[in-house]
């Protein structure tokens, strides 16, 4: 069957959106199918995200808006999958688009219908904490901003149709069945949180002040039902004593919950505790947990800060039940302290950190798409490629395959897109459409002829602002040649009117005074472009969201304000000029630095898409860190995988692999890099051009100085132990002790190395398998077998491996005794335990190659974090990108991670890179900064202030040393211009002159 250059993405949470954007930007048609009525998923519900405390809505909504209006993304909401047929490369999917009863083309999202609806229903988005109308939108910033009628609640009274001035309510709209033909499918349906069943031990549902963590997230949210005030539901008081209980529904073998670890709860709980305290300083949070699983990048630092700066108290105890104190509605918790005392304490409110379950419709999805689920009901994926499902051509990403956090989800989403690229690359660009537009009218140097369109927005503006008066006023302003008012300026017929008026009045600037440019500017820009005007000859005055809606009780003053806003827009419009987006050519080749698993996977992915790839490895052999790993905890044969990978890399004609190689220099920018490499024994020098760079330089294992390592032959590393086991050299041992966190989570290296717990358990299990009588004791601080790895932790305990916690401040002591070792441990209960052992195995941490990374970072103008790992552009939403465009990161160079995660990240980096390499030329942002060289003194302040390394100092023939902006890299933030003393940098679209015009001429 012929392959099809289109992809279907199921689920439009952050994962689905990311995968769609990646693919749409790489030249595929994307059908994004969402079952609810707006996109954004769980992330849109969150208040803040860890470990940066970023505002979730701030960072996710630009991405959602982009998804919503991308030309190559066909977004369908309120959908259900009916049938799937076909095979990899060519699938047919029958989709039911359930009616919203509101015409999305006409709905302006004004919300009057929701206000007038007499039915109140439970607000799902706010987790039932607020009431909502049957006609509603999920949240105020929803994409698409279209109201929907919830037929389950609607009584069909017809009020909404009566109040809708846009005539968007259509009760007779019917469900629609469509057939969609695509080449690949990405499943990103997310998860459903664990809801404690009725009659649960925690009194959830019975006691008002026991809430789940996701409900608490809405309580925290500034846009949530409590407007960001942390109140308890029973009486609206601030819960000074706030308890969080971890592992609710996770790590649970009783049958009530799930046996696996939900991976994210430890961190989100810490975050919720921190944010609660930040919102209301009187709140003193206490977290009851088993292990604190802060295994991700910079997570441990966050936990430490939570305790030290925010006074969050951690108690290591699993709570089995809660009792309500009837008079106060407080909750009584009984727990055991670390030193064994039983305590009883009352808390004002309890948050249950509920785990992540597979989505409720997992079985349905598995059946429809013909994929297998694992023992826990999540999508079953390949041992090494965590996005590959059991069916070829169908990929899974995000929490559908295992519980995971946002960055891992985003990484996987890009990884899935990366795999789709491999499958469908030949069909790239076949199904996307490009609009033909009339040539742009030349307006330079002509006097401004401004047209102003003022919107009534039904009654949303017209009800409070005297629109006719504002229109009349607009005509009196200099250079305004026409002003008109419309019921809905955004409606399709008004677009025609605008185009006609442009022709009739020879307009060369257009102003719309209506709602917010954040949602509507692109629409009007498109309209005037269709009328032959440059997109940037447009201005908007926000007289709804920032005027009529917020001054409803002062119509006269609102009208005055609207006039001012229109005048300011006219003043600016007079100064605006067309902006040409510059186009840059792209060299369709890639440089991959580092020949470990991540680097090789990335190189092979590029090569399979016929992109020439340069792979640079500093060692003499390819393989990197994985050369010393035999198996994964899940049983994958690493050596076999690695050998196969190396063979494929070496035999691929599109890959130039340089070993024993060192990068001499990297020059250039996105799409147009030029590099040189010194390689081989003879130190040959090779130069090449490429369009992107992937940094996959890996990391190294720590060589401990502690615990007699290096001085006593019986003290070895986990990797050495693995080698012993695999070569059957450990059979004579009777007792083995392992110490975890050697060189990790200490003052110099305050991060978790993530893999060591799994490594220790893997080796312990293997050792037990080879010699069941072997005594194994693992000395740990927290066991961090997140996700499904929890299973193996349990298995190890069942097989008799002893796990003993040691106190961070009193690390174990090792005393050599003859040919054996005596190990002294103080437990948190202050007991001293002595163990005699033949072998001490140290779980050494993973360290970044500091000097190497620093050199490369300097060459690429990208940053490192405090621990010398590479620092990505955004911890949450751009986990494989750098702020410097065209440069990506994968694998251990980014932070300690597992092989599967490294592979996912490598594929993700390729997918992100393909958004560049797939194009012949890339278009730079139009609104960029611009240097006025005759004013520039070359002081370099702008260079330091630029977050994107877009500015450099050059020696100009005429002006001497001056700053130069690389338009390909500039994002147009203007931080450079804001600081420039000489006013030698301006920002197109927000120029000094334009802002000057808005400030001046007040009356």
């Amino acid at each position: 069957m012929e392959k099809v250059g289109a992809v279907m993405v199921i689920g439009a949470g952050i994962g689905g959106s990311q995968a769609s954007l990646d693919l749409a930007d790489s030249g595929y048609k994307v059908y994004l199918i969402e079952s609810s009525t707006s996109i954004g998923g769980v992330m849109a519900q969150l208040d803040k995200t860890f470990p940066t405390n970023d505002c979730a809505m701030c960072i996710v909504s630009p991405k959602l808006v982009e998804t919503g209006r991308h030309q190559n993304i066909d977004l369908s909401i309120n959908c259900k999958i009916l049938d799937v047929s076909g095979e990899a490369g060519n699938f047919n999917i029958k989709v039911l688009k359930k009616t919203l009863y509101i015409n999305p083309e006409k709905c302006t999202g004004c919300g009057v219908c929701g206000q007038e609806c007499p039915v109140e229903a439970i607000d799902i988005f706010n987790e039932g904490l607020a009431k909502y109308a049957a006609t509603s939108v999920k949240y105020p910033q929803a994409v698409p901003l279209v109201y929907a009628i919830n037929k389950d609640y609607c009584i069909g009274c017809g009020i909404c149709q009566g109040v809708c001035k846009a005539k968007a309510v259509e009760y007779d709209r019917e469900d629609e069945e469509v057939d969609i033909n695509v080449g690949a499918i990405i499943l990103a349906p997310g998860f459903d949180e664990y809801i404690p069943p009725e009659a649960n031990l925690y009194g959830y549902g019975k006691y008002k002040n026991v809430v789940t963590s996701i409900e608490f997230e809405r309580i925290l949210s500034a846009s949530g039902p409590y407007a960001g005030r942390v109140l308890r539901p029973s009486d609206g008081d601030i819960p000074e004593k706030l308890a969080f209980l971890q592992c609710i529904g996770s790590r649970d073998y009783t049958g009530n919950g799930q046996p696996y670890c939900s991976s994210v709860c430890c961190m989100y709980t810490a975050k919720e505790a921190v944010i609660a305290h930040e919102h209301m300083h009187q709140i003193k949070p206490t977290i009851f947990s088993m292990d604190v699983r802060a295994y991700g990048k910079d997570f441990d630092k966050y936990i430490i800060r939570a305790q030290e700066e925010y006074g969050v108290q951690y108690i290591r105890s699993r709570i089995s039940s809660i009792k309500e104190v009837p008079e106060t509605k407080d909750l009584r918790i009984k727990y055991e302290t670390e030193d064994g005392k039983v305590m009883e304490e009352d808390f004002n409110m309890v948050v249950l950190a509920v785990g992540l379950n597979p989505p409720n419709d997992n079985v349905f999805l598995a059946e429809k798409f013909g994929i297998e689920l694992n023992e826990f009901g999540f999508a079953k994926t390949d041992k090494f490629n965590p996005v590959q499902t059991s069916r070829s051509g169908i990929y899974a990403c995000g929490a559908f395959s295992s519980p995971k956090d946002i960055p891992d989800t985003v990484t996987q989403a890009s990884a899935a897109a990366g795999c789709v690229n491999q499958l469908l690359y030949e069909k790239r660009g076949t199904l996307i459409t490009e609009k033909t537009l009339p040539p742009e009218i030349y307006v330079n140097g002509q006097p401004p002829r401004i047209g102003v369109f003022i919107c009534h927005c039904g009654i949303n503006i017209g009800g409070y602002v005297d629109v006719p008066d504002v229109t009349k006023y607009a005509t009196t302003l200099p250079n305004v040649v026409m002003a008109d008012r419309n019921l809905y300026t955004c409606s399709a017929d008004t677009q025609t009117i605008i185009k006609d008026k442009v022709k009739e009045f020879h307009l060369n600037r257009v102003i719309v005074a209506s709602c917010t440019p954040r949602t509507h500017e692109p629409l009007f820009q498109e309209t005037i472009r269709e009328a032959g005007l440059n997109r940037y000859l447009f201005q908007m005055a926000n007289i709804r969201d920032q005027c009529s809606w917020v001054h409803m009780n002062e119509p006269e003053k609102a009208t005055e304000k609207a006039k001012d806003l229109v005048r300011m827009a006219v003043n600016k419009a007079r100064e605006i000029e067309p902006i040409e987006r510059i186009k840059l050519p792209v060299t369709p080749k890639a440089l991959v630095v580092g020949g470990g698993i991540s680097g090789m996977v990335a190189a092979l992915n590029f090569a399979s898409q016929e992109f020439e790839t340069f792979l640079v490895e500093k060692q003499e052999e390819l393989g990197g860190f994985a050369r010393h790993i035999y198996h994964t905890l899940e049983g994958g044969d690493v050596q076999e995988f690695l050998t196969d990978l190396i063979k494929k890399v070496q035999s691929n004609k599109f890959i130039h692999a340089y070993t024993d190689a060192e990068i001499e220099n990297i020059d250039g920018y996105i799409g147009n890099f030029k590099s040189s490499v010194i390689h081989g024994k003879k130190k040959e020098r090779t130069e090449f051009e490429h369009g992107v760079v992937i940094v996959a330089t890996g990391a190294k294992e720590y060589h401990p100085k502690e615990y007699l390592y290096g001085n006593n032959g019986n003290v070895i590393l986990q990797s050495e132990f693995e080698e012993m086991l695999n070569n059957d050299k450990a059979t004579n041992k009777k007792s083995v002790v392992m110490i975890q966190c050697v060189g990790s989570r200490n003052d110099e290296h305050p991060y978790c190395s993530k893999m060591c717990c799994a490594e220790a358990i893997k080796n312990a299990l293997l050792a037990k398998e080879k010699n069941p009588d072997l005594e194994i004791t693992v000395l740990f601080r927290d066991i961090r077998t997140y996700g499904f790895k929890e299973k193996y932790y349990r298995e190890a305990r069942e097989k008799g491996v002893i796990f003993l916690q040691y106190d961070e401040d009193n690390p174990p002591e090792v005393i050599p005794e003859d040919s054996r070792l005596r190990i002294e441990v103080s437990t948190p209960r202050k007991e001293k335990i002595y163990i005699n052992s033949d072998l001490l195995v140290l779980s050494a941490g993973i360290y970044a190659n500091r000097e190497e990374n620093e050199d490369l970072a300097k060459m690429l103008k990208v940053p490192l974090n405090d621990d010398n790992f590479f620092l990505e552009a955004h911890v949450k939403l751009r986990p494989v990108d750098f702020a410097t465009e065209g440069v990506f990161v994968a694998g251990l160079a980014h932070c300690p991670k597992t092989i599967e995660d490294s592979i996912a990240q490598a594929n993700a980096a390729v997918s992100r890179a393909c958004t560049i390499l797939s194009k012949d030329e890339i278009e730079a942002e139009g609104k960029t900064a611009m240097v006025i060289p005759e004013r520039c003194t070359g002081c370099g302040m702008c260079v330091e202030n630029c977050a994107y390394s877009a500015i450099e100092l050059i020696d100009d023939r005429r002006f001497g040393r001056v700053a130069q902006i690389n338009q390909a890299l500039c994002k147009g933030c203007g931080a450079c211009s804001g600081n420039c003393r000489c006013a030698a940098i301006d920002v197109l679209g927000f120029s000094g002159e334009q802002i000057f015009a808005m400030i001046t001429g007040r009356c």
């Binding site: 370099g940 302040m941 330091e944 100092l953 006013a983 000057f996």
Partner: protein, 343 residues
């Protein structure tokens, strides 16, 4: 042995050792040109001079009227300092503490290359506040000026007046903590003569307490009174080593951000914006006040600028060339007590 040297003797010693160093530099061809001070054409002044020959060394002087910041002559680059064939000339520059600071800061701002520069460090003993003396003398014409022991003596037709040196030096010099050019290890090559190895400056800014305790209105009255006489001659700007923009903001048009008139609002805004531009850059040389023809005292603002960056960002300009100036840098945990917050 004289235990306490008078200011006069101090000056002589500085002058001698400076000339010695200068002579040596020229002789050994370490520099092509030396920028220094020479006698002014009118009393109570000094003038800059460039010398290229050994025999001219004796034209160099040092007294307490060497108020110009010589670093100013390096930015923007003047043709005299560029050889059409060799490129940049090697320059020796007589450097009191604040000239040294200016040079170091200019190198941070990439305006000069310290490799081409030799700082002839001198332990500055303070600059006389000539505006204050002129004011006190009044209308009478000053014909002669000299120092004797610890006094400043001003002579004219029919009068002679004595001023205490300690009292009549610049306010900035009274609190100056960097008398000689600061030199950290990496600047050892650059500095010849008397330099001082310091890596940070401690200051309590006690001299600002009084003004800062005033109310907003009182401050406004004071600033208004002291700036009202400004004629916008831009002498302050022209003397300032940090004012090296190709086109100063007041001279720009398209748009004309700030008026060029001598209306009070334009005056205030000029000084306000100029101080903004000098934050973290001003080296507290006091040249601006020394050259002001109407005697406006800008020292208070100078001190405030130093205080802001010291207290907020622990930064003193022109000390450590490796330290990033505050406006080129930022930290996640910068103080933000000034932000508007909910009650």
């Amino acid at each position: 042995m004289v235990m306490i040297m008078g200011i006069e003797a101090e000056n002589k010693e500085i002058e001698n050792s400076m000339r010695e160093t200068a002579r040596k530099l020229l002789k050994e061809k370490e520099v092509d040109v030396i920028i220094g001070y020479t006698k002014g054409t009118v009393p109570l002044s000094s003038a800059p001079i460039m010398i290229t020959k050994e025999e001219d060394v004796d034209k160099l002087i040092w007294n307490n009227l060497c108020y110009v910041n010589l670093a100013k002559y390096l930015v923007p680059k003047i043709p005299q300092l560029i050889d059409p064939e060799k490129g940049d000339l090697k320059v020796g520059i007589v450097s009191k503490g604040c000239v040294g600071r200016a040079l170091i800061h200019l190198s941070v701002e990439k305006q000069i290359d310290l490799e081409n520069i030799k700082m002839i460090g001198i332990p500055c003993n303070g600059i006389i506040n000539r505006k204050r003396i002129e004011k006190e003398i009044g209308e009478k014409e000053i014909l002669e000026f000299f120092t004797s022991e610890n006094d400043i003596i001003v002579k004219g037709k029919g009068f002679e007046q004595k001023f205490s040196y300690d009292e009549y030096i610049n306010e900035l010099c009274k609190v100056c903590k960097v008398k000689a050019p600061p030199t950290l290890a990496e600047l050892a090559e650059t500095c010849v003569g008397e330099c001082k190895e310091i890596s940070s400056v401690d200051d309590d800014f006690e001299d600002l307490i009084e003004f800062e305790s005033k109310s907003s209105e009182e401050k406004w009255e004071y600033i208004k009174d002291s700036l009202e006489t400004c004629t916008k001659c831009y002498a302050c700007r022209e003397a300032c080593p940090m004012c090296y923009c190709n086109l100063c903001f007041v001279d720009q048009n398209k748009p004309i951000w700030f008026g060029k008139t001598t209306d009070l609002s334009d005056i205030i805004v000029f000084h306000l914006v100029r101080s903004m531009h000098l934050a973290g850059r001003c080296v507290a040389c006091g040249a601006c006040s020394s050259v002001c023809p109407v005697g406006i005292d800008l020292n208070l603002i100078t001190r405030k600028l130093e205080k802001i960056v010291k207290e907020r960002f622990n930064f003193t300009s022109g000390i450590d060339p490796k330290k990033t100036p505050p406006m080129m840098d930022f930290r996640m945990d910068d103080a933000e007590e000034f932000m508007l917050e909910e009650d």
